[in-house]
């Protein structure tokens, strides 16, 4: 498993290929990527604040929980913080397993926990100014299924 909390951009394609190359026994790889949304052509950017120290620990605990709960060959989480440009990948999760059900379930589980339990806060920057992204009730509700 690998957890990266970083200011630097990452390349979704290169990370996907490297992850898939490392899981020799697995036939199924699932990735999720979160992108800065381009809101109707308005030049969007994003600033992400996080809680250094707690972030890494919280994510590592989620990944360990996922590895214990599903039969996974490997799991990866990359999450950026700081200044992001429009269309930049914000974060990605990758999971690998023998059969697809484990990789899908673990990726959804990790996303649900990252959304509401990892200490990141997004601020959207647009022509109208800066605004903290509000937490969605659906995201909190999604945790109940696990």
């Amino acid at each position: 498993m690998r957890v990266c909390v970083q200011a630097e951009p990452f390349d979704l394609g290169a990370e996907s290929n490297a992850f898939a190359a490392g899981v020799a026994g697995a036939g199924a790889v699932v990735t999720f990527t979160g992108l800065v949304r381009d809101n109707g052509g308005a030049l969007a950017a994003m600033e992400i604040e996080h809680y250094p120290g707690m972030t890494e620990k919280a994510i590592a605990a989620m990944v360990e929980q996922a590895m214990a709960r599903w039969s996974l060959a490997d799991a990866l989480v990359i999450h950026r913080y700081g200044q992001l440009a429009g269309r930049d990948p914000i974060m990605m999760v990758a999971t690998a397993s023998r059969h697809r059900a484990d990789a899908f379930a673990a990726a959804e589980f990790l996303m649900d926990y990252l959304k509401s339990r990892a200490p990141f806060w997004k601020k959207e920057l647009s022509a109208e100014g800066a605004e903290w992204v509000a937490a969605r009730d659906e995201d909190e509700a999604a945790l109940k299924r696990w």
């Binding site: 620990k57 990252l114 990892a118 200490p119």
Partner: protein, 82 residues
């Protein structure tokens, strides 16, 4: 003495990212009440408990959690990662 950290709009409303606080508060809730009484900017930050979260020594906690032995308290809005 305890490190108290603020993130996102909690940090912006209070106007600083962290401070050291000397308190006798026994629980998170007692600390919140004490801070609210200080200045209006704290009242603004801690007015709506529904949209406030707390971590004790980097673990999420409830408002009635005890502060005994805790070195780092962090207040922040609901998280919006992913």
């Amino acid at each position: 003495m305890m490190d108290v950290l603020y993130f996102a709009w909690v940090r912006e409303r209070i106007g600083l990212p962290r401070e050291k606080i000397d308190t006798q508060a026994a629980t998170v809730m007692e600390l919140i009440v004490e801070l609210r009484g200080r200045e209006e900017r704290y009242e603004m930050a801690f007015g709506d408990l529904e949209s406030l979260r707390v971590a004790l020594d980097q673990e999420l906690a409830d408002f009635d959690a005890p502060l005994a032995g805790v070195r780092e308290v962090a207040f922040f809005p609901p998280m919006t990662g992913g």
